[in-house]
């Protein structure tokens, strides 16, 4: 399969230079490769929230559910529960998953549901033209905070680590090889996988220069170590300063998952194979 076959007729409306283009290309390449390797494309379902990131599902000729702001995870969770053979991938923004839908994100990690979330972390609201988000640095001057924010940013990998996610990585939209490697690992991981992508918004928060200077790929870390992952996650807290920003796989462990845990109770038997009439009558006998 040629990755280009995975593109729809929809007109692309991202700004020139937007980091979303890299995420789009990387994901398209990975899905095309996986299809060739035996993970068929028709088994992939993409779920997006609302924001610039979310347009990605219009551009990809793949099964999709274009959901509402902050609400990718509940939709994706149920799709996975309904059909465990599907590979369910959420695209979400930092405002989307860390503000409007934070409860769902924490619960996805807590449940270790076998879905993937790609966080388009541009650290600014783009479609609403430039307000601060949960990952904007302290002091960020946006349209809703003209004097600068007085809140500290959320550190997404740290939050995911303590919430129970079992695959945690960070990528950057300059560096498509690493991005593709991380996307592939995340999709193939059994459990809740989370990739924080430093995605630059050229129109409202252009951080290319900062990221180009400060990011580096971690090597030789032990991804099964919670403590090492925590140290890596905390080595950059999304605030100002000029320290190094690690990229790569921070954490990967196996842990009990929500989806198969529910299987013996429910999924093991096809509901249509059960004689419901007989069971209803039996049950009614018990209510006499």
């Amino acid at each position: 399969m040629n990755p280009k076959d995975l593109t729809t007729y929809a007109k692309n409306t991202w700004c020139p230079g937007c980091g979303n283009f890299s995420i789009f290309s990387a994901m398209r390449n990975v899905l095309a490769q996986l299809d060739q390797e035996g993970t068929p494309i028709e088994n992939v379902v993409l779920v997006s929230g609302i924001g610039c990131h979310a347009k990605i599902v219009d551009y990809m000729n793949v099964n999709s559910f274009y959901s509402i702001h902050g609400r990718t995870i509940p939709v994706a969770t149920a799709i996975k529960l309904a059909n465990p053979d599907l590979n369910v991938i959420c695209f979400s923004g930092d405002g989307d998953s860390l503000a409007e839908g934070l409860d769902h994100l924490i619960f996805a990690a807590k449940r270790n549901i076998d879905i993937t979330l790609i966080l388009h972390d541009n650290r600014v609201y783009g479609l609403t033209t430039g307000q601060y988000t949960p990952t904007s640095p302290k002091g960020f001057k946006g349209k809703s905070t003209p004097l600068g924010t007085t809140e500290s940013p959320i550190n997404p990998p740290e939050l995911m680590l303590v919430s129970g996610a079992t695959y945690i990585a960070r990528g950057y939209t300059h560096g498509i090889d690493l991005l593709q490697k991380l996307f592939r690992e995340a999709i193939m991981h059994k459990g809740f996988s989370f990739v924080d992508v430093l995605q630059v918004c050229v129109s409202y928060f252009n951080l290319y220069e900062t990221y180009n200077k400060r990011t580096y790929e971690v090597k030789g870390n032990d991804p099964s170590s919670f403590d090492e992952a925590l140290k890596l996650a905390r080595s950059w807290n999304y605030d100002g300063g000029d320290g190094p920003i690690p990229l790569g796989k921070f954490y990967k462990v196996e842990a009990p998952r929500f989806d198969p845990v529910n299987e013996p109770r429910a999924i093991d038997r096809d509901p249509r194979a059960i004689n419901r009439d007989a069971r209803i009558k039996e049950l009614l006998e018990n209510f006499i």
Binding site: P40, R71, V75, D277, R279, L284
Partner: protein, 554 residues
């Protein structure tokens, strides 16, 4: 004897609901039809709980103020309910807890002493006093023994011993006639809703607990393995509503349950279901509002909220069952309609119907089958939102080789890709609204409006939901017509017109303060002359309604 009412009261934690159910089961075995109202405050231990069990020769769905037997596990029960006693009533009480000095015949049982002597658990005071109850009303010991064996298998020997001692300590005051009808199961409205949904092909149930819908979640979770259901209790109602749509997208029939406050959180997702055309069933159990209101008491004050919830305009199907049989049949219809028309479909319950217990006759509830939705034929390229004459686009579920199945919350084209094109925006809106007329057309075949009582009376009551039972009985007694509207959207104009033929005086009977059905009917040209409204959290008793009717008709 046509009717016999028994009230059993005590504190929360005494097992009053179960004790009431036991009384119901005893009368069922004598061939009677049962309605039980369960009244409890919002707390876990203490407070005053009571079950009012009414047995009748006919199917009923309402309680009376008067009781024939008052079973008092504590003094408060006696004091709170003494007003219900007539000259012929009698009282059974725990003589170790209750001081008794009323003129009515009383039967004091040494309950506490018996429990102590038998080293029984405190909860067994129920079985002890019910043993005494059976003796006083002349129900054979064997019947109680059978009920206890079937329903309280835990510590059975001890329970039977304690019940027998209660039985032997009591005296017979009357003898309940045994009827020639078979015993029927007794179901709460929520249990009937569950069975109706399951019968019509439900595959998943998602809910966050909230009275009076919690017992539906509990039932689904408990019986999930029996029916291969997936039951999920997620982080909040927002997730509930979105999960239901994830199931629907993947081709699994899902329902959710909640009450007003939880439904407020679902409205965002409801609008998504309208736009993305996702079938989902919502059981909305009304309780007294606004806000937290009276969490464990009833109301019918969310009709207009349900009809109008969610931004934008989109069709929805709404039914309001009046008792357990309605609940079974119409919940199944609601699931079928959700999938045939790809719309949100509401079962609008209220605390009275959700948690009330009713005799249930499956053979009389209505023939219910799982109906197949319109499925893609696989011939040409799949378009999720294809234009059709009915507005219903064929469904397909992933994985389908060579196809992309695209659902969208934005304004979208037939393929499911976002567009801001004005023509497509309008055409897609028309397509969705077309489903409303298609649904209305199908509903012409259904008995969406029912008439009870004197069908030629010029005076009629107009009711919906749990008031069916009380209106039907009052109509029969006072020779009036009672008209129950079961389907509230699409509004059954033609059926209602036929039901109201010849009516000169229309009286709305509702558990709200503004006459919500009266207002809705008014919009379709049906004017009500009077309104009998109750909004104190308690359902109408037959006596309440009769008194109001006499006042209005005077």
């Amino acid at each position: 004897m046509d009717n016999f009412s028994t009230l059993i009261g005590g504190i929360a934690g005494d097992g009053i609901n179960e004790a009431g159910a036991t009384v119901g089961r005893l009368f069922s075995r004598l061939g009677y039809r049962i309605y039980m109202y369960y009244d409890y405050p919002s707390l876990i231990r203490g407070g005053h709980n009571f079950s009012l069990v009414r047995a009748s020769r006919h199917m009923i769905g309402a309680h009376q103020d008067d009781v024939d037997v008052l079973i008092a596990l504590n003094q408060e029960t006696l004091e709170n309910h003494a007003f219900r006693l007539t000259d012929k009533s009698f009282v059974i009480y725990d003589a170790d807890k209750v001081q008794y000095s009323l003129k009515q015949k009383g039967c004091g049982l040494p309950v506490s002493a018996i429990l102590k002597e038998e080293e029984a658990l405190p909860i067994m005071k129920n079985t002890c006093i019910l043993g005494g109850f059976c003796k006083t009303v002349g129900i054979e010991w064997a019947i109680l023994e059978e009920v206890l064996k079937k329903h309280i298998p835990k510590n059975l020997e001890l329970n039977l011993k304690v019940a027998k001692r209660g039985h032997d300590s009591a005296m017979e005051f009357c003898s309940i006639e045994k009827l020639n009808s078979p015993a029927l199961p007794i179901l709460s409205g929520n249990q009937a809703i569950a069975l109706g949904l399951i019968k019509a092909g439900l595959q998943a149930y998602v809910a966050y607990p909230m009275t009076p819908s919690s017992s539906l979640l509990d039932f689904m979770a408990r019986f999930a393995p029996d029916f291969g259901l997936k039951v999920v209790h997620p982080e909040n109602e927002i997730a509930v509503m979105l999960m239901a749509q994830g199931f629907a997208y993947a081709g699994q029939k899902a329902a959710v349950g909640t009450s007003g406050g939880g439904f407020c959180l679902m409205t965002e997702g409801l609008s998504l279901a309208g736009m993305a055309e996702m079938p989902v069933v919502i059981m909305m159990g009304q309780r007294t509002g606004p806000s937290t209101g009276l969490p464990t008491y009833t109301a019918q004050s969310d009709l207009h909220f349900i009809l109008n919830a969610g931004q934008g305009e989109f069709p929805r199907f709404v039914i309001a069952p009046g008792d357990a049989q309605d609940a079974y049949y119409w919940s199944g219809v609601a699931l079928n309609m959700a999938w045939k028309y790809q719309v949100p479909s509401f079962i609008l319950g209220d605390k009275t119907v959700c948690e009330g217990q009713y005799s249930f006759d499956l053979d009389d509830a209505g023939e219910l089958e799982e109906e197949s939705p319109l499925l893609w034929d696989g011939l040409e390229k799949y378009s999720r939102y294809k234009y059709t004459e009915t507005g219903v686009s064929p469904l397909a579920f992933p994985p389908r080789k060579g196809q992309a199945i695209k659902a969208d919350s934005y304004s979208h084209d037939e393929y499911g890709v976002t567009t801001e094109n004005p023509k497509i925006t309008k055409d897609m809106n028309d397509k969705r609204l077309l489903k409303n007329s298609s649904m209305a057309k199908e509903m012409e075949e259904y008995e969406s409006v029912k008439v009870f009582g004197e069908s030629r009376s010029k005076t009629a009551m107009l009711c919906w939901g749990s008031n069916k039972g009380v209106c039907r009985e009052a109509a029969e007694k006072l020779k009036l017509r009672a008209v129950q509207v079961l389907v509230l959207s699409p509004f059954p104009t033609a059926r209602l017109k036929a039901a109201l033929e010849g009516v000169e005086r229309l009286i709305a009977v509702e558990c709200n303060s503004t006459g919500q059905l009266a207002r809705l009917a008014g919009f379709y040209g049906f004017n009500t002359q009077e309104r009998i409204l109750k909004y104190d959290g308690r359902p109408f008793s037959l006596n309440d309604l009769e008194a109001d009717l006499r006042r209005v008709l005077a």
